[in-house]
Amino acid sequence: MNISIDGIGYQLASKKETSTDLKNDNPEWDMDLIVSKTGVETRYVSETNETALSLCIAAAKKLDFNSHDIGACIFVSQSPDYMLPTSACIAQEELGLNRDVAAFDINLGCSGFIYALSVAKGILTDIEKSKALLLCGDTYSKFINKNDRTCRPVFSDAGSAVLLSKSESKNTGPFNFGTDGRGYDKLIVRNRASKVESKFNDFLHMNGAEVLLFTMANVPSGVKALLKKANLESEDIDYFLFHQASAIVLDNIQRKLNIPDEKFPRNSKDIGNTVSATIPILMKDLEDEGRLEKGQKLLLFGFGVGYSYGGCILEY
């Protein structure tokens, strides 16, 4: 059994933040230089009452589905409403899903959409109901110091919702996954969970150079391994949809894999890095622009915090 994507919705956080806003808070920042490296000109920041869950629920409400058909609701986030309970349980209630639904969270960041696709495929194989909701969202801005020049210009808040169905005709997979826990502290929020580390603050910390090295060392090789596993050539792929990390990261990946611009879409200039939501948001934007059509073969690849990466081939 395979899965198909029946619909995608997304909701950006309500406050739009421009380079001018960042400059006002940080007069010493050279915004032209920052934009040239990150590729991000605008980003979205959640208000106090907006959370990853509320944004994902808003995104899901844009989709057309019968709640009786939904057998699984998976919420991918690293900024849940509560330490417990599981946010997906709240989504089940707020979306009016039946109570015979599997609802659970996955704590992953930029690779999370790929992992959740694989998990959803497995669950749909095991249940009678025909559809699953995959919610990916984060509000990293709530963890970011307004003077942090590494994180603030890049990250953006959003929620996405993807409606998945059992399919006999579409091919999903193969997948490949990877983890390198040596990099756990290179992109981290401390002191907001159980472990107390008093010498550290509780803001998002990113060592951009270390994360870049991880990406350069693992993503191009991971993509090549995935193509080999699928017995495909690069030319067989209609679109390479990468996690929209930042321009400097994407430029390196594109250059190393020699992917032409028309097969390497980007949207981070206007939206920023929305963590696990970047790939579904990119797919939705492509679809709305009329560039993404049913039956096209896509290579999806997410990577980042953990370190963690995951990729898959998907027939849209």
Partner: protein, 77 residues
């Protein structure tokens, strides 16, 4: 890669106004800030056919002396 080629690579990556030599570092090259260092890393990665990305010590090697030391140890220069 020779040392002179490395100096030129770093100058181009940083789009630096000043010449880069063995004494250059983030302390004396204004363009060599944390964002500039990312450009140095990607340029090194391109120039070494991906070998540089496996050298994690490069992440905080913000001086030419340190970079030369790391690359010499790996016989890249």
């Amino acid at each position: 890669m020779t040392k002179d080629e490395l100096f030129l690579l770093i100058k181009d990556a940083l789009d630096a106004d000043n010449q880069i030599d063995i004494n250059a570092s983030a302390d004396n090259i204004p363009e060599w800030d944390s964002l500039g260092h990312l450009s140095v890393l990607t340029a090194l990665d391109d120039a070494t056919d991906g070998k540089a990305s496996s050298l994690s010590d490069l992440s905080d090697a913000t001086s030419v002396t340190k970079i030369v030391s790391i690359l010499e140890a790996e016989e890249i220069i």
